[in-house]
Symmetry: D2
Subunit: 134 residues, 4 copies
């Protein structure tokens, strides 16, 4: 299954609204980034936790879909996020990878780093993947 | 401590960018809502999980600050989200309440419901609250 | 479906090993308790977090099974625990209730309190419930 | 700081009660194991989730203490667990490593594997580490 950024934006408009850009869309790793702009910031000037969780959620959902059955529609059931340090700088870079791919759910780990490659946010999501009814 | 929507938007610009409106800003309960618009949606037309976690994070942070020391700056350390059902309709309504207020951290529970009052999302966050240096 | 403590011990021997006693086994609420003995304690003398999570896990699994299809076998997929205060005293009392019962998963909230009824631990679990093959 | 299994058992009696054995006690990695015995099992014969979370909690707490200030007492604030597959076999092997060590909290990742080295359980904990008062 080949997926493009346009496919993701069409299915999940919030991904485009938030400003997520995809560098890589593959089953073994989805890479995406978000600019650290004032509109997405919080106290202290770093990226807001809500924007960071949005970046993670968007990336993890695509990763889960790519690890599910053909045309699987991802639905996040559970998301656990640890904020390790504030994310300042120019860009937030997310990498989403499958921890385990089951028949009906995929568990995805997302790591978000800053410009210096320091891990700032760790997310693990349990995502249901069910084949779309044709 | 009295806090207004404008105070929150000034400190956390992402809250305004996302479109969060506050109905109540008090230590024992922060109430906020978000319109279910296409730009914030996902597959199937419901509100995107990232937008919902943004609404929860914004509400919980204000609740934590109001339960912390004077002029406390909230910093979310951990956030756990359970998505119970898709949120469709007109408005997502969040209520954030303190589960426990400690000296340096506040644990906040957020419940997000749809127009019919059905619980769609449950979030629990651990938030550090440290007095701002004067 | 009627379930007894003996049924739970037979299916999940760890419940008996840990020392969990059930007061109530019903779909809308499972109540269980654990004695605060030295063998289950940690630094400072309170109940160890591992024992508390064991009590929660045992209680939540039964609650999920009672909310699933006939003869459902529960399998915890995700568990999020917030430790709000140390649990000292004589007994830890857990109440597990369904937050949402879906077709294949049940989300259960568990609250564990001390002798004075103070909330010490909050757990939310996502539990798969699949009908046992006959 | 050098720590022995006996130190851990003395401080946290539940670690010994559960049957946790330590292979390595170092700041950059705590390794521990638990036998898959009937008394710790659940439906299907695998290790019970409560026993697995106990193993993880014990390992993470020691790891956090070793990454905190001298004589730090660890207190788990939040624990998120993903059960990826049932753990059958002879032994459950846990490795706890710091994701981030802050001044007052340490975030620890624990991976629990089976005899074949397959990842069965992933845990992330936020643990307060405060210097014991002398």
């Amino acid at each position: 299954m080949t997926v493009t950024s346009e496919d993701v934006y069409a299915l999940a408009p919030y991904a485009e609204t938030l400003g997520v850009r995809f560098q890589r869309l593959a089953a073994d790793g989805v890479e995406a980034e978000l600019d650290c702009v004032h509109a997405l910031s919080t106290v202290g000037g770093g990226l807001h936790g809500g924007a960071l969780m949005g970046l993670a959620d968007v990336s993890a959902a695509v990763c889960a879909a790519l690890n599910g059955p053909e045309n699987a529609v991802p639905a996040t059931m559970q998301s656990s996020t640890n904020f390790l340090r504030p994310l300042h700088g120019r860009i937030a870079s997310a990498v989403a990878q499958p921890l385990h791919a089951g028949r009906t759910t995929v568990t995805v780990e997302v790591n978000i780093s800053d410009d210096e490659g320091r891990l700032c946010v760790r997310v693990v999501q349990t995502i249901a993947v069910r084949a779309a009814r044709g």
